[in-house]
Symmetry: C2
Subunit: 202 residues, 2 copies
């Protein structure tokens, strides 16, 4: 039984979503964002960076949403994780990483400087720059989706969970509206998955 | 034969480093940072986000440094990439992802707002906030290294390449000085690897 440390709208949504897709058994620990638990020594022993998500799997503790999604899919032997022998391996890897390192990065800057930091520490120029990058990246992602239902191969994979969270965050930040229609159609396809619905409600 | 698209001091250093570690055959294409090639339609067909690194492997094209490092190590069947059956699998995954998503993220903000953007678009408050986060993360990484030579398991792995690039960038940005001695010792251990030396000189 996995234990998942989660905050609403945080990257831990990816972990809950992945566990719901594969029907894994898990217990949810919902934390206050940047609250006392996340600052505590006990929690730092699980995740030294004091962020969510974290996962406990028996004696193992993991952090980083991209690592945990890959880990739980591997442990389940799930077809949502193409391996080195599969045609979609390269695409799975690159879109899994792009979901965080490219697509979520500017959104995290917007979240930080438009919502999370106290007003006197916010940098509007950083928000403007990140918004411009996000717009370019959303266009590039829409280009990728021409003639495709999912980012890596013909079927839904963990890479869609990694990219899908960026779109979830973009919606929370209200910056998804101007994206190309093809991106909206993809995001609707992801949102309609029952596992996403259960994760978003968690 | 791999073709690697590289800019000096960019994340593509990870790819060159990994290829040097495993002795793979590759051709290097050194691009001007944000130059004409990176903006071109031909390059966007390889990497729609117009960034480095990108890798060509026959008919396959990949982008995202974390994906490419994992891919080339998997293709080589390298022991630098623990698999699901190995004890260090979870640690390999989480530190590989942390190297980019946690450790490099604030450094990328500093690079952007202290070096890359034109002065009238830079946000000093974003640099200050990112510097504070980097300092906390460097402390947490130093804590992880207590009694360890490498971040995941007893041996050098691809996770050290992912984390090591963050330290390379921190040095370029001149923010590594105040880090705990244990972090300096780790960084020295990585820098002394011949494969890192060849990659940094590329």
């Amino acid at each position: 039984m996995y234990v998942v440390y989660h905050c609403r709208h945080a990257r831990s949504l990816r972990v809950v979503w992945a566990l719901e897709e594969i029907g894994a058994d898990y217990e949810l620990q919902v934390l206050d964002f940047q609250g006392a638990v996340m600052q505590s020594t006990d929690y730092r022993a699980i995740n030294p960076f004091g962020s969510v998500p974290a996962l406990r799997d028996g004696d193992h503790a993991l952090f980083e949403s991209g690592a945990i999604v890959d880990y739980v899919l591997a442990r389940a032997g799930s077809g949502l994780r193409p391996g080195p022998q599969d045609a979609d391996f390269a695409d799975y890897l690159m879109w899994s990483h792009a979901g965080e390192a490219t697509l979520t990065a500017p959104l995290a800057v917007i979240a930080r400087h438009a919502m999370i930091l106290p007003p006197d520490r916010r940098a509007p120029l950083a928000v403007a720059d990140a918004h411009e990058r996000w717009t370019q990246y959303a266009d590039a992602l829409a280009g990728r989706l021409a003639g495709r239902d999912f980012v890596a191969g013909p079927r839904f994979t963990g890479a869609d969970i990694m990219v899908g969270y960026a779109l979830h965050l973009a919606e929370v930040l209200d910056v998804v509206g101007a994206a190309p229609p093809r991106l909206h159609a993809y995001w609707r396809r992801l949102r309609e998955r029952p596992a996403y619905g259960r994760a978003a409600a968690a």
